[in-house]
């Protein structure tokens, strides 16, 4: 081997190491503050003991059993509200995204911005505003009473409906944005072709637009379902004790009535449900799509 080619291989090797050097600080951060904590959470969920006497790792699965017995209502509420918020969110966000993508011509970016601007109001204040909207003497309650959808002494605040309203509102932009992105990618010529081939507008939508917007629908669904399933703020601020979700139990068992193993088990179960969903999603679209 000549000196020259040795030098070249050395430079080559250095070049090959460059991406790893660029990745190192971030990956190290994720390892220490994401991966390790997740393991800690798993270990904690298998511990036994109390705050006073300390916790020992015993591989005990009781905490998990309690997730499906004691905390079954919370598990059910989490899934139910997250599912409800996702479906309603989709029904509102899809037509909005559709309208922006196809019916705003050159004002597209302005309308898109208008969908996102409310996110600049602090999350807790946005949620608290729903206390005003759904107040007992408020416009919404009065209107619903007038048309008979709500009984005379009925209310919305501190009910499941208020929680649902808060969840739908808070995550709507995260549903609308990815749907818009995938709708916007559709070539108009495709729809013209469908039209030329005597497809009715409905058929064209069903056979062309809808399938092509599915990546956006799936991302939007995940971006709504995941945070909604883990939410506890909407319940705290808008709902009542009968509707507590998994997040409420995790929060209270970690920060109020200390019971680390139970809290960790619930937390880990929630994560497992989410990971299962994400894995199914990744199988469908691959990892590159995840970050776009």
């Amino acid at each position: 081997m000549t000196a020259r080619s040795a030098l070249a291989t050395k430079a080559d090797r250095r070049r090959r190491l460059v991406p790893y050097a660029l990745l190192a600080p971030g990956m190290l951060w994720l390892l220490v503050f994401y991966v390790v904590p997740m393991f800690r959470l798993a270990i904690t969920s298998l511990q036994e003991g109390s705050l006073e006497q300390g916790y020992q790792f015993t591989g005990n699965l009781d905490s998990y059993a309690s997730v499906f017995t004691t905390y079954l209502p919370q598990l059910r509420n989490s899934l139910m509200f997250a599912f409800g918020a996702t479906v309603i969110g989709l029904l509102i966000a899809y037509p909005l995204a559709y309208a922006i993508a196809f019916y705003t011509s050159r004002w597209k970016s302005l309308f898109l911005l208008l969908i996102l601007v409310p996110l600049l109001v602090p999350f807790l204040l946005r949620t608290l505003a729903w206390r005003v909207i759904l107040a007992d003497q408020g416009v919404v309650v009065t209107a619903l009473k007038t048309i008979g959808l709500l009984p005379e002494n009925g209310r919305l605040l501190s009910t499941g409906w208020a929680i649902l309203a808060g969840l739908v509102y808070n995550y709507l932009a995260f549903m609308a944005l990815p749907i818009y992105v995938s709708l916007d990618k559709i070539e108009p010529s495709l729809l013209e072709a469908a039209n030329d081939l005597y497809a009715s507008p409905w058929t064209a939508f069903r056979k062309v637009t809808l399938p092509m917007s599915m990546p956006g629908v799936i991302s939007g669904t995940l971006l709504t379902f995941i945070p909604a399933a883990g939410d506890y703020v909407n319940v705290e601020l808008l709902g009542n004790r009968n509707w507590t979700m998994m997040g409420n139990v995790i929060q209270s068992k970690f920060l109020v009535i200390i019971d680390y193993p139970a809290a960790a088990a619930i937390s880990f179960t929630l994560m497992a449900i989410i990971v299962t969903m994400v894995v199914l999603y990744v199988r469908k679209v691959g990892t590159e799509e995840l970050l776009t």
Binding site: Y34, L120, V121, A129, L222, Q251
Partner: protein, 268 residues
Amino acid sequence: MKARVFYRTLLGFGIGYLFVPVFIVVAFSFNDLQGRRNVSWEGFTLRHWADPFKLPGLSEAVLNSLTIAFLSALVSTVVGTLIALALVRYRFKGRSTTNLMLFLPMASPEVVMGSALLTLFIVAQVGRGYTTVLLAHILFNLSYAVVTVRARIVGFDRHLEEAAMDLYANEWQTFRRVTLPMILPGVLAAFMLAFALSFDDFVITNFNSGSLQTFPVFVYGATKRGVPPQVNVLGTMIFGVMVIATTIYLVVQARRQKMDEAALAAGD
């Protein structure tokens, strides 16, 4: 034509719906309330705007939020830009693992991430406070920073960098004179997004803040007693500043793009 009217009306309603809470937050900063519960309109006043910081604890909380948002945005943007460069520019083994590692924090519910970090800090016997909140914020900002910067790098021309290298610029000079100016808008957008996400974070902060007060923690604590209108004043100010910052960013971007296009046209 009918469809056009239908969809535009729909859009109007949709945007109206999204802005109702915004309107309420702003309006209730002017509410002349007598009691503690700021939930019904009692008349117009400017008095809460006169001295919003007089409320005990509020200014410290806002200050903590601002510095944590700045520092976490700074660190996560720098580290995230490096990752984005690696992902777009280089082929390397472990790429899909990297993508997955970046995606997982975004896919984790905040309660799970917050509580997992808390278990780590408990075992490591790290007292919860400013530092732990900062560490947590850098963590959740990182993936968003990567995604934002990456979106910007994907679209740009590698030939310019190659041209610089051909003209004997070394790698560092190429990065500083060619790459960085080109990706700067993406980096800036990442910083702004990270700043906003950090400033507004409640859940992860709540798990790791100990007795530290940030703006969201302060608001949450206040909900038990009734939220003082000064909080709405601050919320409105934050909203205003963010809207202005976003507008400036977008206007500058649009102008830059126009200039680039003009330069391209002149070159032809």
